[in-house]
C-alpha cells in the first residue's frame, strides 16, 4: 500500500498508514508559530483555472503529485522516528512482509504466502523470488531477520519493540523463507508484521540504527526512492525501478513542508499543491463558498480509526472515584463538540474502536448530556458548594483542576467547550496548551497531569493491551492514565490468545463495556478525515473502499494533458 501524507488531521492518517506502526501513536498536531510565507503563487494558475478537468484520459505514467505536510520527519526509519510524518513518507519507500488490501484483509506484500502451524505458534513466511533493493542488491530473508533483530534490540530506541519481543525464535531456513515462533498463540501477530518496514542489512549492519545517516538517505524496495530532501522545504521521491510491487504510475511525489493549514490552503487555491488534509472549517465553510475551487478540486471524506478523549490521571484524587469520573462524563455535551468544533464532521464514540466496525460494540451508547445526574453523582462523592462561591468543594478544598492539551485549534476549542460545561456544574477547570514535544516529555511521560485532552490513533487489530493493561504504566509507556482493572487485564490477555474472530469480538465487546462503565476516559468523538485532491489526479476509488482512498495510490495517474509545468526551483 502506498501512502500519502496528510499529517495534520488525525483522521486522514489512518487509512494511508501502515496500521501497526500507527497503533498507539499519540496524535500530535502541529500548529505553527508563524504564518509561513506563501508568496510564489505562480502566474501559471490563471492558465490552470481555464483548463477543463472533466475530460477522460486513459492512464499514463509520469507527472508529479505535490502535497503538503505540516511537520518534517525526523528521519525515515519509521521504527525509530515513531511519528506520523515519518511513517507517511517511509511507507512509500519501504515494504512490509504483509499489507492490508482495500477491504482490509491481510495479503502478502514481500511474501507470496505464509503458513501458520497447527498449534498457532509458528508462522512461516515465503518471500517472493528475486526481490531487489533500489540499489540492486538482493532482498532476502536475511534482511527480514536483521530487521527483527533491530526492532527487538534493547539498544534500539523504538516504541514498537514489545510486539516483536514475543517472538521466541526467528530463523531463516533459506534465502526466501523466514520463520517465527511465539511462546503462545498471539492473535495480533500478522498485523504486527504488516506494520514493520523491512530494512536493508547490507547498508545498516555496521551502523547505529538510532543515529545512522541512512535515516536521511534511505534505500528501500517500495514504489519510490528518495531523490532529494531539502530541509524545511520538501522531500522529493521518484520512482524506484526495482520496485517489488510493480511500477507506480505517477513519476514523482513531492511533499512540501508547510506548517500552517491556512498557508497550505492558500497554496492549494493557487494550484501550487495538488492535495492536502483539510480541517472542518475549510471543508464545511470555505469550500462551499468557493465555486472556483470546487471546479478543480475534489473532496473526500472518510471516518478515521481514531478518536479524541478526555483522560483522567487515575492516580490523583478525586479521579480515583468512579462517581467523579462518571459525573464529568455526564456533564460534557459531546454532540455540542461534534457540532461546534467538527462542524458536524464527526461521530459519537462509546468504545475505543471505530464506529461501525466489528470490534465496536453496537450496544454501547455514549453517556448522555445530563448535568443533573452529574451533580447528583458529585454530591454522592461528597462534593457540594458549602461556602457558596459557585465552586463545589469537599473537605474545604474547591474542585479545580487543569486540562492539558497540545497546540491544535480543534483541541483548544474542545477544551473551552468542556471548561464551560464543567463550570456550569461547579467545577473549575483551567486549560493549558502546550507544544507537543514538551507536552509529552514534561507531562505525559512522567505522568504529571490532572486531566489530558488527547487522541488515540489505532491499528486495525483490536488488541489494546499496551493502552489499558495494568502492567503498562511505567514512565513512557502508553497506559499513562494508570488504568488498572483486573477484569480488563484478563480480557486483554485472553484477546491476544484467542484466534477465533467471533470469540475475539465478544471479548473486545465485553472489554469496551467495562471501559465505558468505568469511565477512565471520556470518549468525545471520532472525526472524519477530510482530504482535498486536485481533479488532475485520476484513478482514485470513489466511493472509498474500507481501506480508504489511499489504498491504491500507485494506480493514481495524472494525464499528461493536465500535468503542470515542472517548477524550476524543485
Amino acid at each position: 500500500m502506498m501512502e500519502i501524507k496528510h499529517d495534520q488531521d488525525q483522521l486522514v492518517k489512518l487509512q494511508f498508514i501502515k496500521p501497526a506502526f500507527m497503533k498507539l501513536a499519540l496524535i500530535a498536531f502541529f500548529t505553527p508559530l508563524m504564518i509561513s510565507a506563501c508568496g510564489d503563487s505562480s502566474s501559471s494558475n490563471q492558465i490552470h483555472n481555464k483548463i477543463d478537468y472533466t475530460k477522460n484520459y486513459p492512464p499514463n505514467n509520469g507527472g508529479t503529485l505535490i502535497d503538503a505536510m505540516t511537520g518534517e520527519p525526523s528521519g525515515l526509519i519509521a521504527m525509530i522516528a515513531g511519528e506520523s510524518a515519518a511513517s507517511a513518507i517511509a511507507g512509500n519507500i519501504f515494504n512490509s512482509l504483509l499489507r492490508y488490501d482495500k477491504n482490509l484483509e491481510l495479503t502478502g506484500e514481500l511474501v507470496e504466502s505464509w503458513d501458520v502451524s497447527n498449534d498457532q505458534k509458528t508462522i512461516t513466511f515465503h518471500l517472493k523470488p528475486n526481490l531487489k533493493w533500489a540499489d540492486d542488491q538482493p532482498l532476502t530473508s536475511d534482511d527480514v531477520l536483521f530487521t527483527w533483530q533491530k526492532v527487538t534490540d534493547e539498544k534500539t530506541r523504538t516504541p514498537y519493540g514489545s510486539d516483536f519481543k514475543l517472538v521466541t525464535k526467528a530463523e531463516t531456513p533459506d534465502a526466501n523463507t523466514f520463520r517465527v515462533t511465539y511462546a503462545a498463540p498471539y492473535a495480533p501477530a500478522l498485523d504486527t508484521w504488516a506494520g514493520l518496514h523491512i530494512l536493508p542489512k547490507h547498508l545498516l549492519k555496521d551502523q547505529d540504527i538510532n543515529t545512522t545517516a541512512f535515516a536521511r538517505n534511505p534505500v528501500g524496495s517500495h514504489y519510490y526512492k528518495l531523490e532529494k530532501w531539502k530541509n524545511g522545504q520538501f522531500l522529493k521521491l521518484t520512482r524506484n525501478e526495482n520496485a517489488t510491487q510493480g511500477q507506480a504510475k505517477i513519476g514523482n511525489l513531492l511533499s512540501r513542508i508547510i506548517p500552517d493549514k491556512a498557508a497550505q490552503f492558500l497554496e492549494l487555491s493557487a494550484d501550487n499543491i495538488d492535495s492536502m488534509g483539510l480541517n472542518p472549517i475549510q471543508y464545511a465553510r470555505i469550500f462551499p463558498a468557493r465555486p472556483d475551487l470546487n471546479k478543480n478540486i475534489a473532496l473526500y471524506k472518510e471516518l478515521g480509526n481514531s478518536y479524541t478523549y478526555l483522560g483522567f490521571n487515575l492516580k490523583r484524587k478525586p479521579f480515583d472515584d468512579i462517581r467523579v469520573r462518571q459525573a464529568i462524563n455526564y456533564a460534557i455535551n459531546k454532540q455540542e463538540i461534534i457540532d461546534g468544533v467538527l462542524l458536524g464532521l464527526g461521530e459519537p464514540v462509546a468504545s475505543p474502536y471505530k464506529p461501525g466496525t466489528r470490534w465496536s460494540n453496537p450496544e454501547l451508547k455514549p453517556y448522555p448530556y445530563d448535568p443533573n445526574k452529574a451533580k447528583a453523582l458529585l454530591k454522592a462523592a461528597g462534593y457540594e458548594d458549602h461556602d457558596g462561591d459557585g465552586i463545589l468543594d469537599k473537605d474545604g478544598k474547591p474542585f479545580t483542576f487543569e486540562i492539558l492539551t497540545n497546540q491544535n485549534k480543534e483541541r483548544e476549542m474542545t477544551g473551552v467547550l468542556i471548561q464551560r460545561r464543567l463550570n456550569e456544574i461547579g467545577i473549575k477547570a483551567n486549560i493549558r496548551v502546550l507544544e507537543w514535544a514538551s507536552f509529552l516529555g514534561r507531562f505525559i511521560k512522567p505522568k504529571e497531569f490532572d486531566v489530558v485532552l488527547l487522541g488515540w490513533s489505532l491499528s486495525l487489530d483490536p488488541d489494546q493491551y499496551s493502552i489499558w493493561h495494568s502492567s503498562q504504566q511505567a514512565p513512557g509507556q502508553f497506559n499513562f492514565i494508570s488504568y488498572s482493572n483486573q477484569r480488563v487485564d484478563k480480557l486483554l490477555e485472553a484477546g491476544r490468545l484467542e484466534l477465533n474472530p467471533d470469540k475475539r469480538m465478544k471479548i473486545y465487546h465485553e472489554f469496551s463495556k467495562i471501559l465505558l462503565e468505568d469511565s477512565p476516559i471520556v470518549f468525545l468523538s471520532a472525526g472524519y478525515g477530510l482530504t482535498a485532491i486536485h481533479k488532475r489526479v485520476r484513478g482514485i476509488s470513489n466511493p472509498a473502499p474500507p481501506a480508504g482512498i489511499g489504498h491504491n495510490t500507485y494506480e493514481w495517474y495524472i494525464p499528461s494533458a493536465y500535468a503542470r509545468n515542472e517548477m524550476s526551483e524543485h
Partner: protein, 273 residues
C-alpha cells in the same frame, strides 16, 4: 496643559487613550453578553445589530470579547511599564548619582540586555514559565527597563552639577534627599514620555505573545488571541481579524501620538514651542 493640547495630534492621542480606558473600565456595563458565553448554533456570524462585531468559531460575541480584551491589553501595558519604570529609575538613579564603577557596571548590564532582541528574550523566558497574564506582565517588565535606566542616568548626570543641586549639597543634604527632592522631580518629564511610549510597545508585545499562543490563555480574551482565532477563518470571516487588528493599531497609535506630543511639548530645544 494648554500648550500641550494645542498640538492636535496630542489631543487625538489623548482622546483615543481616554476612550479606550473608559470602554475597558465600563466593559461589564456595556458588553451585550458574557464574553465567554458559547453558542454552537451561532458560530461565525457576520456583524449584525445583535452582534456588533460578529461571532467567533465558538459562537461567542466578538464585541464583548473585544471589550474585555481591552482590559487585559491595557492592564498588561500599565503593569509591565510600571515594573520597567521602577527598575529603570532605581538603577538609573544609582548609576547617574554615584557614577564611578557602579555606573560602569550598571551601564554594561544595560548594554548586554539591549544586545538581545527583547521579543526573543521574552519568548525564551516564557518557554520556561506557565503562560499567564501575570507572568507576561512581569516578564515584559523585567525585559524592558533599559531605556528608562539610560534616560534617568543621563538626566542625573546633567543635573548633578547644576547650581541648585550643589547648593543643596553644600547645605548638608544627604544623598537620599538630593535624589528624591531635587534630582528625580526634575527628571520626571522624560520618564513619563518614555513610559507612555513603553505602554504602546508592551501592548504590542502582549498581543504578539497571545497571537503565538504564549500569552493570555483561553478562554480569557485578549486582542492578540482573538486575532489568532481569526487567522484560521480569515478567508471568509474578516471581522475576526479586522477588529482586534484595528484595536491594537489604534491603541498603539494613541499612545505614540500622546508620547511624541509630550516629548515635543517639553523639549526645551524644540523651536516650535
Amino acid at each position: 496643559m494648554r500648550k500641550l493640547f494645542s498640538n492636535p495630534l496630542v489631543l487625538i492621542g489623548f482622546i483615543i487613550i481616554a476612550s479606550i480606558l473608559l470602554l475597558a473600565i465600563i466593559a461589564p456595563l456595556i458588553a451585550p453578553s458574557d464574553p465567554d458565553a458559547i453558542d454552537v448554533k451561532a458560530i461565525l456570524l457576520s456583524p449584525t445589530s445583535q452582534h456588533l462585531m460578529g461571532t467567533d468559531g465558538l459562537g461567542r460575541d466578538v464585541f464583548s470579547r473585544m471589550l474585555y480584551g481591552a482590559r487585559i491589553s491595557l492592564m498588561v501595558g500599565f503593569v509591565a511599564v510600571g515594573i520597567a519604570t521602577a527598575i529603570g529609575i532605581v538603577l538609573g538613579a544609582i548609576a547617574g548619582f554615584y557614577r564611578g564603577w557602579v555606573d560602569t557596571l550598571i551601564m554594561r548590564i544595560v548594554d548586554v540586555m539591549l544586545s538581545i532582541p527583547t521579543f526573543f528574550l521574552i519568548l525564551a523566558v516564557i518557554a520556561f514559565l506557565t503562560p499567564s497574564i501575570w507572568n507576561i506582565m512581569i516578564v515584559i517588565g523585567l525585559t524592558s527597563w533599559m531605556g528608562v535606566t539610560r534616560l534617568v542616568r543621563a538626566e542625573f548626570l546633567s543635573l548633578r552639577n547644576r547650581e541648585f543641586v550643589l547648593a543643596a549639597q553644600a547645605l548638608g543634604a544627604k544623598d537620599g534627599r538630593l535624589i528624591f527632592t531635587h534630582l528625580l522631580p526634575n527628571s520626571l518629564t522624560p520618564i513619563i514620555v518614555s513610559s507612555i511610549l513603553g505602554i504602546a510597545s508592551a501592548v504590542l508585545i502582549e498581543s504578539g505573545l497571545s497571537f503565538l499562543g504564549l500569552g493570555v490563555q483561553a478562554p480569557q480574551a485578549s486582542w492578540g488571541n482573538i486575532l489568532t482565532d481569526g487567522k484560521e477563518y480569515i478567508q471568509f470571516a474578516w471581522w475576526l481579524s479586522l477588529f482586534p487588528g484595528l484595536a491594537i493599531l489604534i491603541t498603539v497609535l494613541g499612545y505614540n501620538l500622546l508620547g511624541d506630543g509630550l516629548r515635543e511639548a517639553y523639549n526645551p530645544r524644540s523651536s516650535q514651542h
